[in-house]
């Protein structure tokens, strides 16, 4: 399980998560994710394309993060692999209706800054 980030210009932060967002995995990255999305960036892209397992605890962590970004006037979007179980999890729970989901990073970065 790992979490890292890079800042693209002054307004955009890209956060990359790898591994399993199950209970232990989410517990291990949740506090770092909370800190990273708190930065005063307009757009936040959370890249889940290297996550192979997204459980409900991970979904709650994503909602909490997106809500925090929204409350400070920013926008959080996700990048996931098309056809992956991660995308299926997001669609099955309706989270894709609340947090925009993209299949490539370039589209996600544009959308996060709109």
């Amino acid at each position: 399980m790992s979490i890292s980030y890079d800042d693209i210009g002054d307004n955009l932060r890209r956060i990359m998560i790898t591994g399993r967002l199950d209970m232990p995995g989410t517990d291990s990255v949740a506090s770092t994710l909370k800190e990273l999305v708190a930065a005063p960036k307009k757009g936040v892209v959370v890249d889940l394309s290297s996550v192979r397992f997204l459980a409900s605890i991970g979904i709650r962590a994503l909602i909490t993060s997106a809500r925090a970004v929204e409350q400070r006037g920013g926008k959080m979007v996700l990048v996931v692999d098309g056809g992956s179980t991660v995308l299926t999890s997001l669609v099955a729970t309706g989270v894709d209706q609340m947090i925009p989901v993209f299949k490539n990073a370039a589209d996600a970065e544009k959308a996060a800054l709109v």
């Binding site: 399993r20 199950d22 209970m23 232990p24 517990d27 192979r52 397992f53 459980a55 409900s56 605890i57 979904i59 709650r60 909602i63 909490t64 997106a66 809500r67 929204e70 179980t85 299926t88 999890s89 099955a92 729970t93 309706g94 989270v95 209706q97 609340m98 947090i99």
Partner: protein
């Protein structure tokens, strides 16, 4: 010939769920469950365990959670099920009212996603309560031609 049934137990603690996933991955692969149905089964078992850990209460924590894997393979495909048994208060997840869909983050529910995921990834779910135990059985099936 490998036994089509495998059993395992864990303590009622979130740190134990990864051990259950590891066991399921190894036991399922050894019994010929393809990668996709095995991942779906893993997701559903994870959610079932999360439910017991979060809501099972003192009674659940007094006894281990027991897992039983049953695998049936044939030339054309197969099926597998995992029964999760716990000593918590009787709770039939199949009768839990569905959460209303929300479209904004401000309205978003923070619960109920595990049941939605199980409903999506399992091919069937069964629940029973007997001898002081909840028994939730998660079924997945596959066609050999389509299995990854």
């Amino acid at each position: 010939m490998i036994d089509p049934v495998a059993k395992f137990s864990i303590r009622v603690d979130s740190s134990e769920t990864r051990r259950a996933s590891t066991w399921l991955g190894e036991a399922g692969s050894a019994r010929g469950i393809p990668a996709d149905p095995l991942l779906r089964l893993d997701l559903c078992v994870t959610e079932a365990l999360a439910n017991v850990i979060a809501h099972g209460g003192v009674r659940a924590r007094a006894s281990p959670i027991r897992l039983r894997l049953d695998v049936r393979c044939s030339a054309s495909g197969g099926g597998a099920s995992v029964t999760v048994s716990d000593a918590g208060a009787a709770f039939d997840p199949l009768k839990a009212p569905p959460k209303a869909r929300r479209r904004t983050l401000a309205e978003a529910e923070m619960g109920g996603y595990g049941l939605l995921l199980m409903g999506r990834f399992a091919d069937a779910l069964d629940y029973s309560y007997s001898e002081g135990q909840n028994h939730l059985t998660i079924h997945v099936r596959w066609d050999q031609d389509k299995a990854s």
